[in-house]
Symmetry: D2
Subunit: 407 residues, 4 copies
């Protein structure tokens, strides 16, 4: 499609500086095209009041506000948590979770609206542009995508503000710089400024929003009990909670106890290393509880193999490969292994620590009788002599060969 044929554009819209100036920019650069703004609520808690007026004031023809919070938790986060999907050992994928979901919804609206293109405000250096665009390609493979940051001449926040002011866009923003953030129900990320030098210790007191540092957490521990059914958390302290309520409640508890703060240098999909601070208080608790429960519900072979699956799953998600055959097949694997991941996990939360405090499952494969060093009926200690002889046979044969070849 030629640029001049683009008459209607769907814009992923937050109401922040970036997406606010994109509206007039699109109209200026794409034949005064119609701009339909779409705001996805994944729990970022930005103000929705007055958002429609704002979008329209800056030139949008319409604003969709989509409440995606339940889908976000139940269709994206929980399937990943069941996989123990983590990126590079520590990152709980907060930003990555939201992108495929939003991308898919943008396509739905674009098709409904008969739009000619989809536009997003991601920069050209980050992962999110990839995640958005792969999701769009998965549902509208030929849909043109406009990424202003890769096109326009604006290179900094100051230039953005200049642009906004020159277009009479009323913004409650001053020129003071700020960390680059991404927030949703699951997490809050911080990048930029002093964090760009890995030598700098983060100024947590200025940064944190979802909770406090371990130092500021209470001196008394908090105990909680989580109940899982088939790998999914269903109750907290005996109270049934849906996904959204569960994450919110655990964010409160975890945040208050200084839990889930990560400072990492990660490898972005687009080739460079970057450094970020992540807050995922509730998520950290859920992942930990789930992993603990798996240690009694999964057999060793499954547990060990699943470690590789977890890594791959995390990489796929990070890389925006959610709507792909491989991710779907790995989910089938994970769903199968989760069938017996049912039970209760008690945790002690204390100043940044999540300490196991007891767990149980009707499907537990832990046998106190067999584990105990005392006598039992299921395990004949003499068997281990035979086991070792066969298990060690390759070592023995190798040693015999070594002895021969060294002569």
């Amino acid at each position: 499609m030629k640029k001049e044929d683009i008459k209607k554009v769907i814009l992923a819209y937050s109401g922040g500086l970036d997406t606010s100036i994109i509206i007039p920019w699109l109209k200026e650069n794409y034949n005064n095209c119609e701009v339909v703004a779409v705001s996805a609520d994944v729990g970022q808690e930005s103000e929705l009041d007055g958002l429609e007026e704002k979008a329209i004031a800056t030139g949008a023809s319409k604003l969709y506000i989509l409440d995606l919070k339940d889908e976000f938790v139940e269709d994206y986060i929980y399937p990943c948590m069941k996989a123990n999907a983590v990126y590079e050992g520590v990152y709980l994928l907060g930003t990555a979770f939201a992108r495929p979901l939003i991308g898919q919804k943008l396509v739905e609206i674009a098709l409904k609206e008969g739009a000619d293109a989809i536009c997003h405000g991601c920069t050209g250096k980050g992962n999110d542009q990839v995640r958005f665009e792969l999701a769009i390609k998965a549902f509208a493979p030929d849909m043109p995508i406009i990424a202003p940051w890769r096109e326009w001449d604006i290179k900094s926040r100051d230039e953005e503000i200049d642009y906004a002011e020159s277009h009479n866009i009323p913004l409650k923003i001053n020129r003071e710089t700020n960390y680059s953030k991404d927030k949703n129900l699951w997490h809050l990320s911080h990048e930029g400024l002093d964090l760009e030098d890995p030598m700098n210790e983060p100024m947590y007191d200025k940064i944190l929003e979802m909770g406090v540092t371990p130092e500021k957490a209470p001196d008394t521990p908090t105990y909680i009990t989580l109940t899982f059914e088939k790998g999914i958390p269903v109750a907290l302290n005996g109270e049934k909670l849906g996904g959204q309520a569960m994450v919110k409640k655990l964010n409160e508890i975890g945040g208050a106890n200084g839990i889930g703060i990560i400072d990492m240098v990660e490898n972005r999909l687009v080739g460079m290393k970057s450094r970020g601070v992540y807050e995922t208080p509730g998520g950290t608790i859920l992942y930990k509880a789930h992993e603990l429960l798996e240690t009694i519900c999964l057999d060793k072979a499954t547990q060990h193999y699943k470690q590789g699956v977890a890594q791959k799953f995390g990489e796929l998600l990070y890389d925006g490969q959610w709507f792909t055959p491989l991710r779907e097949a790995l989910s089938a694997f994970v769903d199968k292994t989760s069938e017996t991941v049912t039970g209760e996990v008690k945790l002690k939360l204390y100043k940044g620590n999540i300490i196991p405090a007891g767990m149980n499952s009707p499907y537990t494969l832990y046998s106190e009788q067999i584990a105990s060093f005392g006598e039992d009926d299921s395990y004949d200690q003499n068997d281990s002599a035979g086991f070792i002889n066969l298990y060690g046979l390759p070592i023995k044969v190798k040693a015999q060969m070594d002895a021969k070849t060294k002569k």
Copy 2:
């Protein structure tokens, strides 16, 4: 070799109850054979004074005391830490580290002494019997191995004490039960008693010996700086430290700050799940610091592949497969990747938390200029459009095919 031909036996000897009664038992059951006791000092801090008298009093002909602490750290622990080798995500392999080393030394002494067999006091339900015996097979493939716990009728601690008393073995032990422990320079493990039910929260105040709980740790954080060269820690707060001194010093600091306490259900090599509490204060710090440094010194592809290597390395070690071609080849891989893992890592230790506080390396692959969302010369944001189009091509083609087949 027939049982009646065994005239001289090497015994892995600790001076504790188990190995003390093995001496008379061997003599009674193996033709009054000569028993040469060998005590390996891997930092377990058991009393060595009077050990020789004790061994001889119970029937041994001789006692070797081997100081293996330096070898233990430098030839076993450090190579594993370079690999980030961990078992089932959390266990830092403290017990597993020591076995191959001790097994190898037992063979050396057996060959020197012209012994007919090697004897150890491991039970028939644990991993250590396998680790010991595989190490023995690696150096003396045809050496008979005697494992009294798999042979005798003694089934409990009480029966052991009865046996000891009936053989006039003077033991400073009462019949009160106690956790089953394994201690060395790197760690202390606890199993048994109330821990055998995963529902029970560990009674840490009774259990811990190497440090305190996070609750009892100081209210003020401790900052430390570790210097690594090629993946090996060489200095603490600027002071050069050899392996043994490094681990000891970090055990003190880590233990004081409530660091490195693990409570886990693990899958033993011999087929069952077991539950243990591990203290590895210094080791936990070292592993964490090393992993952090790798995030800036290793490229993404190596980092991601190395996660699989770390898991395999941990499993091999846990399973007693130290003296094997695969472990050696994985070490060659790890040594190669470690060539640029040089630099400094600053950590903040606070009540169980290890918080990154800055790191740097002459080999850092982190580029502030490229990571920054501002302009730079190395990275053209337009490139990402092309990247996404090719990276997303399989998704696009799949979507086009889907559209066709759904018609």
Copy 3:
């Protein structure tokens, strides 16, 4: 259960020498127990006529003959073929396939008969004992298992024959030695004799039974077309065929064309290397056709990941781990990836070669337009410049760092 309480035993019975002498041996050694013989027909084409008389004549109380051929192909072989499960790159798992199925059936009969134990005639050095016993444990975890080869004093074929003769067991066997074989619908294996030295070239003209060598195959190629639906072969040259008929027909065609002969040294589960010759004419064709079809039906990421799954699946099957959570979860993965493995594959069979001769699928991800070096609309060659710059960014950054550190 004590030996003396065993009153009724289920015996996996073939009517051959081994299992024939086991009947009187069991009665002699297990209190004259009742022996219920069970013959599983998995296509081994041994004579079933007169088998009942024979079993009863040697002391069995009863003979079950189970026709498992359809289950064998459809529930065991096809699921593995969908996974491309192969052991050590070449072995198509013919023996391993049959064991779990038979083991499961033995348990069913044992429970129905109220038997006290299950007995099999596998030697103590092979894999099959493990496969049988793991299958039994999966359905009757506490069922005693009797493995005469691990108990009795008979050590060779000659001693077996002596035993048979001394017990008046009429056997059509002479003392001439023979290869150790295992046959079923899928394959025929040969071990022993001159094959035990890997330096010896197999005497194929004496060995082969399911087909001929490439030299003896026709000088004219045979073309066939296989149709797959969701990874399962459903038609040959347009004719619909069920599993059993499909494998039989392909065995004929493949065998005639010298296809599917493997000579390998493999690593047994029980620790040693062994050497075998395998004939799998039809299976080799099916595997190859399936793999070819996957190259157009699966996307790259799935194809590459599935290579690891194929290896693991093959190892699990070889190791007797069929009835395990991990195998089941991997099957869920494979079933998901197989949903689009539908289409036709044409093959040219010629003197041991299977040569692709064309394939197609409604789900093909191959796009002639995109693959072609000519122009197309879906692919802008300029995109690759951006792709390379981002894909190569880690190499560039590394090179810049190298340049700096070398100064």
Copy 4:
């Protein structure tokens, strides 16, 4: 660097149509820059006589001819063969091998000549552009790269010829189309034309150049014996041969016997599937012999793990990631495992088949005595009972749990 500052360009030059027209095109489009042509001889057997005149006649200032054949085999092919590196199960990486080597040499000459850019004639749809450019980035991270196929308006072979004719470039080419080929010492690839439809059976009689089809191969088999030292082939039929001579000789023998013809649909790095026919007669023999030898020289654990390494190694090579830390670390792994891969392999070559005909090694881990089903001293069959009980313990525990939860 700005386009107008490019005054001297290094061109990877073959003398074919593509690179011939690039010379005048560069001069026209890059300020009449100096063009230094570089021809790398990796065994492609194109005519080198008169190449210098030709290059200069079309506008080059100079031609370097580099004989890289020995390096190609010894530093690239052999290290990959030691790894059993293969792409997608079948492709022996012939094109991929040559690119990093040539790329590195281009940089050497560029630095020596003080050139401002490097130019190659790869299209924008293929893998080779990536491989070349990653190699260039590895040694000259900031060197500008010119890829005319991504810049110019020429879109087809006909347009190329028009361009050549309009610039008076004398070419011995007619407008008849031809397969797109890549040739070197190791292989010859064919793409394009009728091969672009996977339904078409290749017209081998028109395509093949390095050998014949199995049908046309001799009716009598050829036996050869290959000797390996530490994973490297050093002698053929007892005659010591260097890398180049070895590959040439085996190409003759293999080609004559119809060996090493592959027809595949592969996944290119740049996102699409493509179909190619590859001839690798000698290489196929070498890989097979090496793999066979490893089956007796490597222990099971190493062999199994190495399968994953082989896949990764092949992918890295295919993807142009030769000069990377991960490839180097995997090579360290492979070198370690290759230390005992020494011995002889006899093969029977017959009409496309490579049939093992005996092998031996001083380091063989195959023990006839242990493998045999007869008696031996190293293996006590009773041990397997204990082995199975422990190995099967997780299955037993799972079955006991299943029984409980089903009640």
